[in-house]
Amino acid sequence: MLVYVLAMAVIVAGLYAMVMKDNLIKKLLGMGIMTNGIHVFLIAIGYRAGGIVPIMQDLDFQRFSLAAVDPLPQALVLTSIVINLSIMAVGLSICILIYRRFGTLDSSRIRRLRG
């Protein structure tokens, strides 16, 4: 239960950074923090108290499936980590180019498109 609350706190912290901070890098970092919170939430859904690693050992299948932690959310999290890696890579590259063109990373000054 506590894990879920902590995950939500991390997500809210990430959202706070995305809204309140003006620096683009801080916004991207906030996005990374938020997705970390979502991943913790996902893994916590699959958790089972006192569970074992979901790698098949020499146990009979019935006991194994009752004892193992759910592996599916872990697979989802791995996929999501890879996706966020690419988003961060693209985002940071664009930030580098923005700094070269605009001279600043302050999102309240990068406002050519408005109306």
Partner: protein, 104 residues
């Protein structure tokens, strides 16, 4: 449903034919003269009028629309600040969540 749609289509076809005819006439008459001829000077309101004064510049004609429609504050809200836009997204999320949880 289908009959109403068909009736509207035929009416529209007739209307379109009339409008097309009118438009052809309008376009044909709007062609700019190639050489300003001496005899065909246009007199409007008692003085001579050049073609430049007669054709209202199309773009600025619509600028008066900006004053009639209450769009000023709406346009100012789209300020371009990313933080504001994300705040709008979170506000929309809050509205949707409240509506969902209260009326499930």
């Amino acid at each position: 449903m289908m009959e109403e749609l068909m009736a509207m289509q035929y009416l529209a076809l007739a209307l379109a034919a009339v409008i097309a005819l009118l438009w052809i006439i309008f376009e044909a008459s709007r062609r700019e003269p190639k050489k300003p001829r001496e005899k065909a000077r246009i007199f409007a309101c008692g003085t001579e009028a050049t073609p430049g004064e007669l054709n209202v510049p199309q773009g600025s004609y619509y600028q008066y629309m900006k004053r009639f429609f209450v769009t000023g504050p709406l346009a100012r809200v789209h300020s371009g600040r990313l933080s504001t836009y994300i705040a709008w997204i979170l506000a929309g999320l809050a509205v949707i969540m409240t509506a969902m949880v209260m009326m499930w």
